[in-house]
């Protein structure tokens, strides 16, 4: 067999192999198709009975107003320090509790207008490490200061109860918040925000 023949045979074998194995290799999950539009943060494009950003904003505004009007906060000589400890998610929604806590804290900080100071307890390890480095002279410092103590602990709990019947959905949501005195353990304030949503699947999906 001449060299040319070997090449043609090899080419044939490779092409046959490629033909038999050819498959449209798709990435594991392709990005969502469709168009993208910038929409207002309060608008709800997808109608559903779950919570959306509009609900979260309303909850936080109401709670922040309620906290600011507390005598212990309103009459305080200096703004009290509050640590937002946890937000327990007991809703029927697959949402990240940390993200929920984060967004509620952001809204509270924005709405409290400096009448309450939120203390960061999540970053306590990094803060302590930085202080050690400052004390050791590894990094510069504007002078030693005492770590802020907390006057109150703020905790929250989100709860929902959903009911369904023949394609109809009804969801009841309750977001409750509690302020506990860090010195005495007394509950000085507790408030809740409730709302209900209802919807129905289309005729062909019932």
């Amino acid at each position: 067999m001449r060299r040319k023949d070997y090449w043609s045979v090899a080419l044939l074998v490779i092409s046959a192999f490629l033909t038999s194995c050819a498959s449209d290799d798709a990435p594991m999950i392709a990005p969502m198709g469709g168009s993208v539009n910038r929409i207002d943060v309060d608008s709800a494009l997808i109608a559903d009975v779950t919570t959306d950003s509009q609900d979260l904003r309303a909850i936080c505004q109401t709670m922040a107003r309620s906290i600011i009007n507390l005598p212990q906060v309103a009459n305080a000589v200096s703004p009290p320090r509050v640590a937002f400890l946890e937000m327990v998610n007991r809703t029927t929604e697959d949402i990240d509790s940390y993200n929920l806590l984060d967004s509620i804290r952001t809204q509270l900080v924005k709405n409290a207008n400096g009448r309450v100071i939120f203390v960061d307890r999540e970053r306590i390890d990094s803060i302590l490490k930085e202080r050690e480095m400052k004390r050791a002279g590894t990094v510069g410092s504007s002078g030693p200061q005492v770590l802020s103590g907390v006057d109150f602990f703020l905790t929250g709990r989100a709860y929902s109860e959903m009911k369904a019947y023949q394609g109809a959905r009804q969801a009841y949501y309750r977001f409750s918040f509690r302020l506990t005195d860090a010195e005495t353990g007394d509950i000085i304030w507790e408030d809740e925000y409730e709302f209900k949503k209802a919807g129905r699947l289309g005729f062909m999906n019932r």
Binding site: M1, C21, A26, I29, T91, I95, L201
Partner: protein
């Protein structure tokens, strides 16, 4: 090149092409049931990818959008690719649970075949999607999110009714897993309430009473899916009605061995097919279908033609299991060998269904150590699979062909 060599090359080519061709053409659904998970994942992913391309072109939700993702999730889940299954379920679930719908699609489905509407699954399929995603969250240690999804599975199940038209909360496997999650989160009262609710609908009440005593404090749980689950078929006049069928397989009892020691039998937690049978379409939808079916029947007899499409929607998540079994115990932390022995209805052992899993971790201080298995023939004898008969039923095979 002489003739002899040319003939041998042609023979070689003829041998290569069919072998290569066959390797690329294996049915993805059979691949799942035969344990060829990577092959199945690839095939289902191609389907899902096609949907994405379709979306880009059409710029609206496709009517079959969620289905390939559900199949991809099943393949990923059974192949142990939980992150892939999670991503696939997160694509499918928002579409399945969305309240708003395309009026055009629904109207079209109303006057033509029912499968022209967007696939949102029946309540048992929505429950299963939530339950599976909940299991993944549980496995990852995200217990609050797992609980939300188990509860959501129970909500989806509220749409189903029994023969007496009573709405039931009998998605027991989700109740049992929700109870475990509540216990891990320290809410024992809620955990007990969930178990009590499950007890109402569990078949083997004696075994469940014993199971209940230790389940909430155990540190190792095995969840076993068995059989090939419910799939829908069009039937009746003009194929306008729907009926549910399944293949429960030969396994009726499972024993769990840990480090070669028998620990006990798994408890039957739920029958998925029973859940599927509980759902009936609303009276209005049934009436429309019956009307379309009758019209078609009359016109086809009188004039020899069908005036409108009347076929019911038989699209289903056919990779669901027929039932869930659960086993729970307390064992020492460390790596263990877990063996599953299966028995038929006469109590005879099914040796080809035996599974042995090595290095199963039980982490110290972790209550939610979970092992998820699925029964299947020759799962521990990979080399035999090529020769084995395929496991899908004729009806499923026909449906698969249609969808593809």
């Amino acid at each position: 090149m002489n003739i002899q060599k040319a003939v041998s090359i042609v023979t070689l080519l003829l041998m290569i092409v069919p072998v290569g061709g066959c390797a690329g053409k294996m049915n993805a659904y059979d691949a799942v049931h035969n344990g060829f998970y990577s092959k199945a994942m690839h095939e289902f992913n191609k389907d899902a990818y096609k949907q994405e391309k379709y979306l880009k072109k059409k710029n609206k939700y496709d009517k079959d959008y969620a289905l390939p993702y559900l199949h991809l999730a099943s393949a990923g889940f059974e192949g142990g690719a939980y992150s892939l299954a999670e991503t696939a379920l997160m694509h499918a679930l928002p579409v399945m649970q969305r309240m708003e719908e395309s009026g055009g699609q629904n109207l079209f489905a109303l006057v033509t075949t029912e499968d022209q509407r967007q696939y949102k699954g029946d309540p048992y399929e929505r429950s299963a999607a939530n339950f599976y995603l909940g299991l993944i969250r549980f496995y990852n240690g995200e217990h609050d999110r797992a609980l939300a999804l188990f509860r959501r599975a129970l909500v989806s199940d509220m749409d189903t009714k029994n023969k007496e038209e009573e709405a039931l909360e009998d998605y027991t496997v989700a109740q049992i897993m929700a109870a475990k999650t509540y216990a891990i989160l320290g809410e024992m009262d809620n955990a007990k309430v969930m178990l009590d609710r499950a007890e109402e609908y569990i078949e083997d009440k004696v075994a469940f009473t014993e199971f209940k005593e230790h389940f909430l404090t155990d540190n190792f749980t095995v969840l076993i899916a068995n059989g090939i689950g419910p799939f829908k078929m069009s039937c009746g006049a003009g194929k306008a009605a729907i009926k549910v069928d399944c293949d429960s397989g030969p396994v009726r009892k499972m024993d769990i061995y840990i480090d070669e020691k028998r620990y006990g039998s798994a408890l039957k937690a739920m029958d998925v097919t029973e859940q599927a049978e509980q759902h009936t379409a609303s009276f209005g939808r049934r009436s429309v279908q019956a009307f379309k079916g009758t019209c078609n029947q009359i016109t086809s007899v009188a004039m020899g033609l069908k005036l409108m499409g009347s076929k019911s929607d038989s699209r289903s998540w056919i990779l669901l299991p027929n039932g869930f079994y659960i086993f729970s115990t307390t064992i020492d932390p460390g790596l263990h060998t877990v063996m599953l022995k299966c028995f038929d209805k006469k109590g005879k052992e099914l040796p080809r269904y035996e599974q042995r899993w090595f290095y199963i971790p039980v982490v110290e201080g972790k209550e939610g150590n979970l092992l998820i298995l699925r029964t299947g023939i020759d799962k521990c004898n990979q080399y035999k699979k090529i020769k084995r008969q395929r496991v899908l039923t004729k009806v499923q095979r026909r449906d698969v062909k249609k969808w593809k």
